[in-house]
């Protein structure tokens, strides 16, 4: 029953302050009083009873899942076994014998708050958001994000996806970073790269990371800006975006949803759209090296709907397939999504194996579903429990990768519309993954 406060292993009342004891009585009398229970949890946390605080916060969450205060408290309580870490240095043996038994307390709390992961991962880097949820925001077309701005990301912030990083390095970043070599080989400081792949796999985030890596300014042309371009002075608007980038060079222009901005002209009835594509082609070509220092990155889920002229040499002539996150990336994404949830002994390796082919968004959904399952279970039994591996594996089993429909279409394109070898990379992947 939810009404029953959960007893901690140490048992309520043992060594507790009178205030906490009286609050416990009050909470028992009014079990639905959320602020009162939260107050009790605060006091328990302050008194070093993290496990008891977790239990109380979990009870609050089972009654009010969206309660921000309870979530914050839960996160604080789960974050670290505070009493142990903040404990004074080990006292001499003679003092221990007469005073508080720190080791016994550590053992008790250690049991109450089990290790979060079965094997702690080596991931030291910041939690990645290679899941695509790390959206760059709704920056308008003419807002230029300066390099090193707060929140700037680098490729190192992208967990896993080593192949993508290597290809970016070879095709894009290395020539840009080595001006001497560039001069030697007569490589101009301009370029275009089209990122494509299933939705929710981090194309936008990678584009941002490339900009961060180049130390360049960043202009994000989003779908809303594109909509504005379609009507009225679409040509002038597009020209202004490129002019801004040229003035701010080195600068990366990121064209999100290129299938909208650069839709096949033969398929569009709308004059404004056709004019926009024409202007984009003109701007990409440039004259007299005006585009030196302007890099155009574009992303799309449906490269086959992009006007073929945009992919000709000198324009978006390099393509990069961004696949669903690989093992290390999935591990990091899961780590990120579980960071503020009450979990115990989660076997990440097993979970990573069970989520092959999942996009970042799917992984977030898995964590959400597992949390929901644990919450419902707690509400049903009246005993608060942590999210465990079984919840997560069950959720992973119940969810089908959202990338499957994309691969079904992509397979048709790779097999039957691969003129010029544009989809060779995709074809190689499909062969390797036995999806042909």
């Amino acid at each position: 029953m939810l009404d029953q406060p959960t007893n901690t292993p140490a048992g309520p009342g043992a060594g507790e302050s009178p205030l906490i004891a009286s609050l416990r009585t009050a909470v028992a009398a009014a079990p639905q009083d959320i602020p009162l229970r939260l107050h009790l949890a605060e006091l328990l946390l302050g008194a070093g009873s993290a496990d008891a605080a977790v239990a109380e916060a979990a009870l609050v969450l089972s009654q009010a899942p969206g309660d921000a205060q309870a979530r914050a408290l839960m996160a604080r309580a789960m974050a670290a076994p505070v009493p142990m870490e903040q404990a004074p240095p080990a006292a001499p043996a003679e003092q221990q014998s007469g005073g508080f038994d720190w080791e016994a307390a550590a053992r008790e709390v250690g049991d109450a708050v089990p290790p979060r992961f079965a094997a702690e991962p080596d991931v030291k880097e910041a939690p990645l958001t290679a899941d695509g949820s790390g959206d760059p925001g709704e920056a308008p077309a003419y807002d230029v994000d300066a390099p090193g701005a707060p929140g700037a990301v680098r490729l190192a912030d992208v967990g896993g996806m080593q192949e993508v990083k290597d290809r970016l390095e070879a095709a894009f970043l290395a020539p840009m970073r080595n001006p001497e070599l560039r001069k030697l080989y007569g490589k101009s400081l301009r370029g275009g790269l089209l990122l494509y792949g299933p939705p929710g796999c981090g194309k936008t985030f990678i584009a941002r990371a490339v900009a961060g890596e180049l130390g360049a300014n960043f202009i994000n042309v989003s779908i809303n800006d594109v909509l504005d371009m379609w009507v009225g002075n679409s040509e002038r608007n597009m020209h202004e975006v490129f002019e801004t980038a040229r003035r701010q060079a080195p600068c990366v222009i990121f064209l999100d949803e290129l299938d909208a901005l650069g839709a096949k002209r033969s398929r569009t009835q709308h004059n404004g759209m056709r004019n926009t594509v024409n202007q984009l082609l003109t701007e990409l070509d440039g004259v007299n090296d005006v585009n030196d220092g302007v890099f155009v990155l574009a992303a799309t889920n449906v490269p086959w709907d992009v006007d073929i002229a945009l992919r000709r040499p000198g324009r978006l002539d390099r393509t990069l397939l961004v696949l669903p996150p690989d093992g290390p990336a999935r591990e990091a994404i899961l780590h990120y999504h579980l960071r503020e949830r009450p979990i115990e002994s989660v076997d990440l390796a097993k979970l990573v194996k069970a989520t092959d082919g999942f996009s970042g968004a799917d992984l977030a959904h898995v964590c959400e579903s597992a949390a929901e399952s644990a919450l419902l279970d707690s509400a049903r039994t009246g005993t608060v429990r942590m999210i465990n591996t079984r919840d997560l594996l069950g959720a992973a089993k119940a969810i089908r990768p959202s990338t499957e429909p994309w691969f079904a279409a992509a397979r048709n394109v790779a097999m039957f519309a691969n003129e010029g070898g544009m989809y060779d990379e995709l074809l190689a992947y499909l062969k390797k993954a036995r999806k042909l």
């Binding site: 909509l227 379609w230 009507v231 839709a263 033969s266 709308h270 394109v413 039957f416 519309a417 036995r434």
Partner: protein, 366 residues
Amino acid sequence: MTTAPHRLVEQATALMDLKRIDEARALLARRLAEDPTDIVAWLRLASCHEEVRDYQEVLNATNQVLALNPEEYGAYLRRTYAFRRLGRPDESLAAAHEMLRLEPESWQSHVGLSEALGAWQPRWPEALEAAATGVRLGPDQIAAHYALWKAALMNGRVDLQRQAVAESLRIDPHNAWALDQRAKYAEMDAAGPRLTGAGARLSAAAEALTDALAAAPQAPQADRQRKHLDVAVFRMLRGTRWLTLLCLVIAALAARVFPTGSDPTALPGPLATRLYGLALMSAVWGFGAWRRYRGLRAGVRMSLWSLVRRVGWARLVVWQSVGCTLVAVVVVLVPWSERTVPQVLFWVALVPTLLTIWFERAATRS
């Protein structure tokens, strides 16, 4: 006086072009909240509803238009199709007649009339006539050719159907509907019982299907097209067994496996004859399979290997072809001194293959 559509309506139109119907509807709703008398916005909204097959809403939106302007051609156009889909043929025909009254020289009026007339079987010839008029008035409109194709289908005019598809592909070589139809006709051609040229027709059918798949990889019909492509490719693969049986017969004759000819007891067969037989077998495979395989498009070739990987029966066909050919090579190369072993090899290779061919044909007939 015509005024330019409002900015939001323009944006919604662009979104509709990109099939982002929900976003387009949201923009139009915003615009109509601002100005409920914007006829263009109402008409675009009706188109959005039509796109998602919400025909009752199409009628509601066009009611608003007709309340503002009872002579609005676009409203009757949308209503003709909406009434037809809702199973209200009389009202559909009345709307089509209104269209004709307002714009008698518009191809859309005649195409709409054809659509409305399609509700009554006795009037299908009239529908065909109306569609033909629509094509005459709008020769570069795929929608007009589509109407003609549909009316021709109802009237059993295959020649006109094929003509409409060919014309549509002339206008837009990547039109998904026309490519799909062309693939169907190619399949029909390949399915006939004619004995000669089956391989070429199968290749044509497979290639037409790959064209259709490349043009619309995400279309709802893509799954069906993939299945049909598998069937075409399987039939091509199946054809290799006839080549292998031919090789087996050549080998048997060259190696004198059966006592025929003027000197039936002379064994082994002359080396030159056996080498000649081997050369003939190579020619059969070279021209009958390898050359044809090399001439296939990359997509069809990949489909073939994909089928072999996915379907056990296709693997069986491959193994039978390979096995029979190997037996033929052994029979023709080894200088047999007696007939028992090559005869056993011959029958062991021949009988299961023939049985499998018979079984497949029986299964196809049933």
